[in-house]
Symmetry: C2
DNA sequence: AAATCCTGTGAAGTTTACTTCACAACACCG
DNA sequence: CGGTGTTGTGAAGTAAACTTCACAGGATTT
C-alpha cells in the first residue's frame, strides 16, 4: 500500500529497486529523472522517495527543496557514493530525512526504508487540532520551553519547572501553565505532577519539527 | 577535541571503539554502564554519545531521556542489533538522534559519527534563528493565510491579496503585511508585487507540513 | 479633468497577552 | 509549634497586538 518513488538515472538499479520493494510488499514506482519525479509528485503522493544525488539534468540535491515544497510530509532518502559522503550532510541540511551509502545491500536498504516509513507513520499521529490554538501556545517562549521540558522529562513538579525555566517569579510560570492546561496540552496527576496530554505531545512534536526544519 | 562518550557493557568493544575514535583524532571516553555515563555527564559535557541499548542495570532506552535531560544538545547514537531494529525507532522517539546496526564496520561507524558531529555543529550555528519571531508571525491566522497564498501564487499584488483573504478593510491587511515584511518573510519587487523571501518559503513549508500532518 | 481604484502611512482606540503583587492553604522539618 | 518551601488564586497594572479611522499620493479610467 505505502507507495515509494525511486529516482535514479541508472535504468538497471532503478528497476531492481522497484522489484525488491515490491517483493517486500511495498508499492514502488520508478522515475528516471528529478524532473520526472516532480511531475509524478504532482499527480500522486508518496510516502517515501529514494533519491539519487548524482543525475543528469536537475540533480538530486537541488530537487530536495522542490520535493519538500511539493510534498512536505514525504520521507526523502538520498543515495550517495561512499566517496562523496559529505554530500549526505548537505542533503540532510537541504531537507532530506536520511541517506544510504552506495553500494548497499538489499538488507541495509530495506532497513533504512522500513525505519523511515515507521518514522513517517509516527509523524502522522495527529487528529483534529486547532492550528490557532497550537500557534498561540507556541508563540510564547516560556510555554515552548515548558512543552520541551515536559516532553523530555515526562513528569515534573511545579517547583522543578520553575527552577528549570530559571524564572524568579513562580506566579508567572503558573500563568503560563494555566494557559497550557486550558489549551489541553498539559494536565496534572493526582499527586500534582505536571505532564503532557496526548495533544500536548502532538504540539511538542510540531515544535520539534519546526526546529528540525530550521536546521536545514 | 570533540569529546565522545562510549557506553557499552562489552569491555572489548568499548575499548576498541575508544581506540578507533582516538585514531581518528577524536577524544573518547568509555563508560561500562548507563549509570556511569550519567555520572560522567554531570562532570563533563560530550558532543556525542554512542549508546548500547542492551545493558545490565539501567538499559540504554531508559537512559536516553535521562541523558537528554542532563545534556540536551548532545547527539545520541544508539547501537542496536539487526534482530531488534524496531528498538531503534523507539529510541529515536525517546530522543536519540541516530542509530547504527550491530555488527558494524569501522567505516560505517565513523561515517555516522562524523555526520552527527557535523549536524551538531550546524545546529549550534543556527541556534540563533529566532523562534519567537517565527511563531509570532505564524500565530496569526491572517498571516498564515497570506504565507500560504504567496507560497502558491508566487507573486501577488496588494489588492489581489486583500480580496483573496476576503477582508473588507485593506489597511488591516497592510498591517499584517508590514509585520511579515519586518519579520523578513515577504518582500516587494520593484513593481510592488509581494513575494516570499527564502525565510518566508521556509516558514510556509513548516506551515504546510503541520497542516498536512493535522489532516491525517 | 474628474472620478475611481490602488497602495500606503500614522495615530487613536480596543482588545488581548503578559507581568507583578498581595495573599493563602497545605505540607514538611526541626 | 513556628518557620520554610510548595503550589496555587485573583486583581491590578503594563505592554503588546490588533483594529479602525482619517487621510493622501499616484495610477487608471471615463
Amino acid at each position: 500500500m505505502t507507495p515509494v518513488l525511486v529516482v535514479d538515472d541508472d535504468h538497471e538499479l532503478r528497476t531492481t529497486l522497484v522489484e525488491v520493494l515490491e517483493q517486500e510488499g511495498l508499492q514502488a514506482v520508478a522515475a528516471p529523472s528529478a524532473d520526472d519525479a516532480l511531475i509524478r509528485l504532482q499527480q500522486k503522493s508518496f510516502d517515501l522517495i529514494l533519491l539519487d544525488l548524482v543525475m543528469p539534468g536537475t540533480d538530486g540535491m537541488t530537487a530536495i527543496p522542490l520535493i519538500r515544497r511539493q510534498a512536505p510530509p514525504t520521507r526523502i532518502i538520498v543515495m550517495t557514493a561512499y566517496a562523496s559522503v559529505q554530500n549526505a550532510v548537505q542533503a540532510l541540511q537541504q531537507g532530506a530525512d536520511d541517506y544510504i551509502v552506495k553500494p548497499f545491500k538489499i538488507d541495509g536498504l530495506m532497513l533504512t526504508v522500513r525505519l523511515n516509513l515507521q518514522k513517517a507513520r509516527f509523524c502522522e499521529e495527529t487528529e483534529a487540532v486547532d492550528l490557532d490554538k497550537i500557534f498561540n501556545v507556541l508563540a510564547n517562549g516560556l510555554r515552548r520551553q515548558t512543552l520541551q521540558l515536559l516532553s523530555r522529562q515526562r513528569q515534573m513538579r511545579f517547583m522543578d519547572l520553575v527552577r528549570a525555566l530559571e524564572i524568579e517569579d513562580h506566579t508567572k510560570v503558573n500563568f503560563h501553565l494555566k494557559a497550557l492546561r486550558e489549551a489541553g496540552f498539559i494536565e496534572q496527576t493526582t499527586d500534582k505532577m505536571y505532564e503532557l496530554t496526548t495533544n500536548g505531545q502532538r504540539a511538542a512534536t510540531c515544535l520539534s519539527y519546526i526546529c528540525k526544519s530550521l536546521e536545514s
